[in-house]
Amino acid sequence: MMENAWIIPLFPLLSFLFLILFGKRLKEASAFIGILLTLASLVYSLLVLFERLTAPTYKAEGVWLTIGDVQLTAGFEVNQLNALMLVIVSLVSFLVHTYSKGYMNGDDRFPVFYAYLGLFTFAMLGLVISPNLLQTYFFWELVGLGSFLLIGFYFYKEEAKAAAKKAFIMTRIGDVGLLIGMILLFWQVGSFEYDEIFAAAEAGSISAAMITLTAILIFVGAIGKSGQFPLHTWLPDAMEGPTPVSALIHAATMVAAGVYLVAALFPLFTASETALMTVAVIGAFTAIFAASIGLVQKDIKRVLAYSTVSQLGYMMLALGSAGYVAGVFHLMTHAFFKALLFLAAGSVIHAVHTQNIEHMGGLWKKLRLTGPLFLIGTLAISGVPLFSGFFSKDEILIAAWAHGNTVLFWLAVIAAFFTAFYMFRLFFMVFAGEARSDMKNVHESPSVMTMPMVVLGVLAVVAGYVNTPWFGTFLGDWLVEGNHSLGHGHIEGPAWIMAVATIVSLLGIFLAWLMYGKRSLSRDWLTSRAPLTYNLLYNKYYIDEFYQLTVVNGAKFFSAFLRFLEVFLIEGIVNGAAGIASSLGKLGSKFQNGQIQTYGTAAFVGLAILVVIYAVTGGYLK
């Protein structure tokens, strides 16, 4: 099985090529192609995962490009993390493929949509089985392309266009960091191979400073992809894409790639305390920062987007606190419940044709299936006990505490409170109370959309139990098995943390219920008390405006300056030279005045000059 794991990404690639070429003819039928091929890779990845549970890591490579005596290789590797990611990605992708059959129904670019999904899935699967940094970067960019295409799927919408462009460029800024980092690393290690890099890092053949530098640069790449502060602004805008896309790319898989990258390079990061600290701080800050914005957003998808950002921050915090398992664990659970939430949100939007939660409400009765599923997701993300999110988040908090990042720990706790609050605010505003706008013929989505949600719903509940302090930490033990540099499978932490986490989340839920469910607490008590805070939060701390003002205008100004240079200096010099030549010609032809005697005189003067020069320099007056 594992020997042929390389085939897994090829199924979606096949679907992409096939649909791009023949999609027009197939129309709606193209959905089946996509679904079947992703199913194939899902099945195959499951088989690979099961085999990997027992068998050792498998790695195969071939030469891709020769530079002088250096050989760059390409291939694939199946270790615990890769196997796990394969399953997560192909599973979510498969579900989203299915879901889209209903959601995108009737769109005239239906086949194109599936083709893009295929492309993205291919890239994402390729990313997670890459055995070296170069190949990772290769697919890293390709997933970016997939995300770009899908965000801009409604290309005729100016917002979509802007969002797509923004997403691509912002992530690219991060990617450059990654590129620099890996090239520097290459000249240190002499290879892009993960294991060789780790070996070198352990052997201490790389200076500490260099390790820190490269690690941080690579982390910059992760910041870009995983929408961490300060490169997070593209992720909420990315919600312009179709909702299934948001579920697949901007919740479950691609945005998690940053976390995956840090996890994959974990030994490198652990080799530098500074790097780890940076990761942790950025993570924690992003977590609280995004959560605070999420408190006040009105667009259902944006709320979810900010929650994604903050959850990713959690994962970073975990990794930054040496909580390898915690990070990966949360990555998995988050993939499930966040995908669920998005799909459910999509189902809601599908039903009411708006994304503004102010116009929703009272959908609980109307959407019999979507409602409960959304609730499950909400509970999971809020970290309510017995749901998957509870366990993973708990792991993170423990890791943070155990690693001694007390401040970060408390930040995370507050973030947890916020999360619980805004998620339930969202839930209540959408489903509880009465409709705040007249919504005709609202009906539950077709089963092709609900089924995937059900599957995810189940997973959102049970996924947590693969790694619990009570029934054993199978996942953790398996993940770190045979690789001491990844830390322990399970970090023991004081029991009160779990209690605190629970209380906090319940508090959040309770407050949300007071304000939006029971309405005993007026909604705008925050708005009225601190309008400034509210505006600040609602406008996402004016970060976009800030970038517009500094970076974008800066670039524009600089370009304008260069253009000035181009037109006046460079062109000017050229024209000047030409002018001189022609004016000299003019001068010359002035002498050519038609007077015979002038010509004779010229000759005589010439002769005189020659003779004088000769007399002065040459023969005689020496």
Binding site: A603, I613, G619
Partner: protein
């Protein structure tokens, strides 16, 4: 000298000159006795035949050993042969151009004179290239000059023609006087007018005074001859004269008298000054100390010619400046004095002969069709006469020194000669190349007219056979020598054994 000595001379080596002379006389008599009504075109054909005959006889002499008769006043060395070859080929083509020169006013009744004066001028040119004595040199020079004064004024009812002739004769007189003055000093310092004995005598001159006087003579001769070459400082007459003179005459002046001028210059400089001590410590020959002055003149000529040409609208004026520039390139050859000098000079003059005469053939035809000489007359030529346009393009490209044409190989040869010496003439080469680039502007300007601009009148242009011949020959030669130049070089090296006999 008595009859024996006179008969003892091998007169056969003067055959070409005799033929030309004979034909010229014959033509003058014919012209006299022919009925007025009859067209004189026939005279032109006779003259052409004569030139061909001379050419044949010269080719017969090519293998002939170096010979000099009449007390060394007339030498037949490889240098003379090589240059006479150019002169005769050029003359034949100019003759063809002249035959097809149609004008309603001015020339018609003088056509006869035109032909034999032309032959007289040619004779002068030939003497210049193969005489071993100052006196014969001078007489040849004047024969050429005086005939061409009249030729320039041939269209006597045409004001411009008169004026150009006047300018020509005045400037010519001045230049003659200057040259002659220089020569008189050389004679005074050597007591002989024979170049060879002169050279021999001069090797022994060490008196500062004398050397300085020689220097003066050198400058006077160079400046005086620069009139014939139309190079700085005596170039300014050229545009006016070229513009006013009938086109065949312009062609003649720009090619044949230039070639003869170079022949004369080389002859005098290198036989008189080559091994004259310059009086400085290293005992460097005088010529090398004077090298830089020629280089200076060459640079000036190239720059002036190309820059002023930029502003010309009149095609003949344009070509006047262009030929000034070309003369500048040729001066570079002389200034550098490398071991490639003779080849380079000869080859470039040959290339220049073909490309320039071809161009003038076309210019004559186009301008005559429309009566105006503004370059706008070339507008849309590609539509009206594709053959002419493409031929003209080839000639212009060759003049601009674009690869694939003889002009390029010629320039290549010049550069090489300039760069081979220990301290290469980098400045001169740079000036020359820069000047070449400047020349792109006006050469391509004509092409832009021919190919890009719409024609004023779209009537097709018919080309008379004679012109077609000239143009075809020129185009063939220009491309042939551009693609397989070794034809020329092999001929040169095979027959003229390196011009070693030049100094004996």
């Amino acid at each position: 000298m008595d009859l024996e000595t006179l008969l003892s001379y091998e007169w056969s080596i003067m055959a070409p000159e005799f033929i030309i002379l004979g034909v010229a006389t014959a033509l003058s008599l014919l012209d006299l006795f022919m009925p007025k009504a009859q067209s004189r075109k026939i005279l032109g054909w006779i003259g052409f035949a004569g030139i061909l005959a001379a050419l044949v006889s010269l080719l017969g002499l090519v293998g002939h050993s170096t010979e000099s008769i009449l007390f060394d006043t007339f030498r037949l060395d490889s240098f003379a042969k090589a240059f006479k070859l150019l002169l005769l080929i050029g003359a034949a083509m100019v003759m063809l151009i002249a035959i097809s020169y149609e004008l309603n006013e001015g020339l018609e009744e003088f056509r006869g004179e035109f032909f034999y004066l032309f032959l007289a001028a040619l004779l002068g040119a030939m003497m210049m290239s193969s005489s071993g004595d100052l006196i014969t040199l001078f007489v040849g020079l004047e024969l050429l000059s005086i005939s061409s004064y009249i030729l320039a004024g041939m269209r006597k009812r045409n004001l411009q023609s008169n004026e150009s002739a006047m300018k020509y004769v005045i400037n010519g007189g001045i230049s003659t006087a200057i040259t002659l003055f220089g020569m008189s000093y050389v004679y005074g310092l050597t007591g002989t007018t024979n170049l060879k004995t002169m050279a021999g005598f001069l090797t022994t001159v060490y008196d500062e005074q004398h050397i300085y006087l020689l220097g003066l003579a050198f400058f006077m001769i160079v400046v005086g001859l620069s009139f014939k070459l139309a190079t700085a400082p005596f170039h300014m007459w050229a545009p006016d004269v070229y513009q006013g003179a009938p086109t065949p005459v312009t062609a003649f002046l720009s090619v044949i008298s230039k070639t003869a001028g170079f022949a004369l210059l080389v002859r005098i400089l290198f036989s008189i000054f080559a091994n004259t001590p310059s009086g400085d410590a290293e005992g460097m020959p005088m010529i090398l100390t004077l090298q830089d002055y020629i280089a200076f003149l060459a640079g000036a000529t190239m720059i002036i010619g190309n820059l002023i040409a930029l502003r010309q609208r009149n095609i003949k004026r344009l070509f006047a400046y262009s030929s000034i520039a070309q003369a500048g390139y040729l001066l570079v050859v002389i200034a550098t004095m490398s071991l490639f000098m003779f080849d380079a000079l000869w080859f470039y003059l040959g290339a220049y002969l073909f490309m320039n005469l071809g161009a003038f053939a076309i210019i004559q035809h186009v301008t005559h069709k429309s009566g105006s000489e503004d370059i706008s007359q070339f507008a849309g030529l590609y539509r009206r006469a594709p053959f002419l346009a493409i031929a003209m393009a080839v000639f212009l490209l060759s003049l601009a020194g674009i690869p694939g044409t003889a002009g390029f190989i010629g320039k290549l040869n010049i550069f090489m000669g300039a760069l081979v010496p220990q301290e290469g003439h980098y400045v001169l080469v740079s000036i020359m190349i820069a000047a070449t680039v400047v020349s792109y502007f006006y050469y391509f300007g004509v092409m832009v007219q021919m190919f890009f601009r719409p024609a004023a009148d779209v009537g097709k242009i018919k080309v008379p056979a004679a012109l077609t011949a000239v143009i075809s020959i020129s185009i063939a030669a220009t491309i042939l020598f551009g693609v397989v130049p070794n034809i020329a070089f092999d001929f040169l090296q095979g027959n003229f054994n390196q011009f070693t006999d030049f100094f004996q």
